[in-house]
């Protein structure tokens, strides 16, 4: 339509403000906890009143939704980056992927709660926000198939195993490395179970 440069400027400005809101929300979530985030404080951090945020997001859950999408997009980007330098052996490849996901989850408690736990009572991610999460899962799955691990139950078992280690680490030893130190051993256990060859070092 007419006046497209002006509308571009407006769209840019709007997008910048949205990003600013989300950045403030992340800071608050990391400082006080994901559930303690309030619209009034988000507004205060960027020089706005709470109701003004409704010009940029439909609701508080819409902010959570955008944060959810950001978190999983970041994870997806980390996986894409990882694919350039994956090790050659299947077992090492599984370990590398597990470590990448583990470290990404443990690095930011608020982010991990939003991505992988149901810590916000009424929040359900939208299908659009969920898309990068599906992307991550599909990437991991395709790597599994390439490694010869193609059974669905084995994949489910791997998901539960890595997720369980992350949750145990966050819940029982936050900031420590008690379960982080078990990750390689756990993947070895899994690799033995599904019959992956190489470096069959005993349980230690």
């Amino acid at each position: 339509m007419l006046g497209s440069p002006i509308r571009d400027r407006q769209a840019e400005r709007r997008s910048d403000t949205r990003a600013e809101i989300l950045e403030a929300a992340w800071v608050i979530a990391r400082e006080k906890g994901l559930a303690e985030l309030t619209l009034r404080e988000v507004g205060a951090r960027i020089g706005m009143r709470a109701p003004s945020l409704y010009s940029y997001f439909d609701s508080k859950n819409a902010i959570y939704d955008a944060m959810f999408a950001q978190a999983w997009s970041g994870c997806l980007a980390a996986f894409d980056d990882l694919e350039k330098r994956l090790p050659r052996t299947p077992r090492a490849e599984l370990k590398k992927m597990a470590r990448a996901f583990f470290d990404y989850a443990v690095a930011d408690l608020a982010r991990h709660q939003l991505m992988n736990q149901r810590t916000i009572s009424g929040f359900v991610p939208s299908t659009e926000a969920y898309a990068p999460a599906v992307g991550v899962l599909e990437r991991v799955r395709s790597h599994f198939v390439r490694c010869g691990v193609d059974r669905a139950d084995h994949f489910d078992l791997y998901i539960a195993l890595v997720g369980g280690l992350i949750d145990a680490q966050q819940a029982n030893d936050p900031g420590g490395s008690r379960w982080s130190a078990l990750l390689d051993q756990a993947i070895d256990m899994f690799a033995d179970h599904v019959g992956l060859p190489e470096s069959r070092r005993k349980s230690t």
Copy 2:
């Protein structure tokens, strides 16, 4: 002191009312979700106003705390009951314990959230309420030692494995059996890893 029978009646009545409050709280938590519990609705269900509940509990979190203690006490009772009829072989024993804990967790979503997840934002269980949880963990650990699995890291790995399967089941297939069906396989994988003998059937 004088008048002890009267004071007994009062204590009884008070204890009954506390139990009634907790029962109402469980019903609401199961119906609407653990986080959706409100004092006004708890009061309404037992014919009271919300502020009256403060005669029986110091705060809403104190109600969660009592529920937390009830949940883990029930789990502890289930384990004590289980010990009477544990199978003879170490591997079967590990499976039986894992299945008991898994089923107890999956049977009641609200209860599992309260016991094992940080779904209530400000709530931290008191040390008294945490005692039965410690009891369950100690019982499992002593069984492990009796089975010859005495390494701390192996125990941690088992905890993460079972917990991960429970969380995956609840999060990705609530009401179904996709991860429940993997529990025996997972314990076999673990038993193989720690070198437990018997029924070394391959990964199926």
